[in-house]
Subunit: 326 residues, 2 copies
């Protein structure tokens, strides 16, 4: 595959997910905010892991999930992110390249282990995430593969990168390169707590540097520190195109001219909501690269999200291209 022809290149924290079922009491005992992502250091990660139930391990990372989803839909993708050369790092590399993604970021030969996210899935299928960033902190502007970015229609960035100064610098460099090459930049706000941590920066990004914004309702409300209706009203003048997910209520696509409501796809049994937003973004972006209408982009996002929440783990278990024909 020539990298001359990429649809989307994603940049994010390269993370392996370690997933276990847990009850609400477990979250309370460990002071975890349900539905959120908390950063943890190595010691706390070890303490949580020691008390978690039996696990499943699957490649994750927000942008990694999105890129794997686009690849599963048939898109041509690249990924930039930092792992170590350990077993989890090898698994991450395997899984993202196995779907055809170009992933050339060299692994760190020393320093902290590959990032992992301890995910507790409660009986209501919500996921609560505890992330040890490990090797992700080693990513920096020098890891930004400028050729890859220049040849991709979209550069997709996750807000989580702002949690590390060096990764933030890499994020900014990537956006500059993409725009200088006349390409479009998409951003996921990632998490309401992450938005709270970097609110001013994200507001400036959305207004000046982002062509397509992905978020969920809580993240938009955190960004503008107000309720849904007002948040939407304040968002629309700032951005050309935003897609905001609302869980079972579906999603809303916003432009300066339009508000398009998209229904959620029906799911027989919701098992684990990890990756729902990431996969919505995958379907939506794939649609944009194929010139689909905004409502069709939303439908593609909803289908991809529906697949991911029907099982544990945030990478597709059914090739998504088989689900979207018709």
């Amino acid at each position: 595959m020539s990298s001359q022809t990429l649809d989307v290149v994603g940049i994010g924290n390269a993370i392996v997910d370690i997933i276990a079922s847990a009850d609400d009491a477990f979250l309370e005992a460990h002071a975890m905010a349900k539905g959120g992502m908390m950063l943890v250091d190595e010691l706390r990660a070890e303490a949580i892991y020691a008390q978690m139930g039996p696990t499943m391990i699957s490649s994750g990372g927000s942008a990694g999930n999105t890129i794997a989803g686009i690849a599963s839909l048939g898109g041509r993708t690249g990924y930039i992110g930092k792992v170590r050369d350990d077993e989890f790092g090898q698994a991450f590399r395997h899984d993202i390249t196995a779907v055809g993604t170009i992933f050339r970021t060299p692994p760190a030969a020393d320093g902290p282990a590959t990032a992992h996210c301890l995910i507790l899935v409660t009986p209501d299928s919500q996921r609560t995430m505890n992330t040890y960033l490990g090797a992700c902190a080693n990513i920096g502007p020098a890891d930004i593969d400028e050729d890859l970015i220049r040849c991709a229609q979209f550069t997709y960035l996750e807000g989580y990168l702002y949690d590390d100064p060096s990764a933030m610098a890499a994020f900014r460099r990537a956006a500059e390169v993409a725009h200088a090459a006349g390409r479009r930049v998409a951003l996921s706000l990632s998490d309401a707590f992450c938005v709270q941590r970097h609110r001013d920066e994200f507001l400036a990004l959305v207004e000046h540097h982002v062509d397509v914004l992905f978020a969920n309702q809580g993240e938009i409300e955190a960004l503008f520190q107000c309720g849904w209706d007002e948040a939407i009203a304040r968002l629309r003048p700032l951005t050309d195109l935003a897609a905001v997910t609302r869980g079972p209520a579906g999603s809303v696509v916003l432009t300066k001219d339009e508000i398009i409501e998209i229904a959620a796809e029906p799911v027989v049994r919701v098992v684990d909501t990890t990756g729902a937003g990431d996969l919505y973004a995958a379907g939506f972006l794939f649609g944009l690269t194929r010139g689909a209408s905004l409502s069709e982009c939303g439908r593609l996002g909803s289908i991809a999200a529906a697949e991911i929440i029907s099982h544990f783990g945030a990478r597709p278990q059914t090739p998504l291209h088989t689900l979207v024909t018709a």
Copy 2:
């Protein structure tokens, strides 16, 4: 938990499963016998892995799955098996102790990596396994925790241990210790190819050293090198109690006096048959430790097997004790 009161201690190859979907052409291209377990060396494991699709990683190992299943049913369990002190070894240890199993076998500090099994799941939900034994080859009679075995009602052994001379010696030592303590020994025949490799040894084991035998139809036919009816007729005089699974056709419990047919539990969608036999054995053995009737033991086995084949991976995702009340 005092180890004075164990229900079952299992001894097996401590393996982490790496699972991917694949089509029949993949199996053919790699000369894999569908439904079987093949031993592979490190180089071949790497070559297969490099071509596999995106993966899920989950603790496995036949006896490990059975012991985790018994623990999930509420049984008191122990496990003996060899991992290395690497990331996969830590994950294996975490997962089996997280369900309350006593696992004291020290990890290998050097030598080959923790065993892993590359599992290809075809669209018909069958699994085809390629096992790199790695650190399992380091288990030997010295690893047999005799106290653990003496205090368990049953010692459960997997036939796969016969694939390594040192593990075979550990197997034999464990069976001796159990019987010397007046405990019962259960054996799983593991795999038809494994039976072919060790047929004479397994025949002698079944006749002289095994109190409860677990197998599937193909393994019994391989053991006696004949068809189903004749195999059953030849098996019954050799053993006091055998439970033989037949996939969707359910299972058959055999004693010298009785043949009890057990129906399979209905499953909405069979996703991955990995671990079906292991979990059947879990339910059946748990029933025996609780003094259940043989037909009730078979029902418990069928329920546990039904849970495991409804998702990827061979460890329960729903606590089994919640499925068997009534």
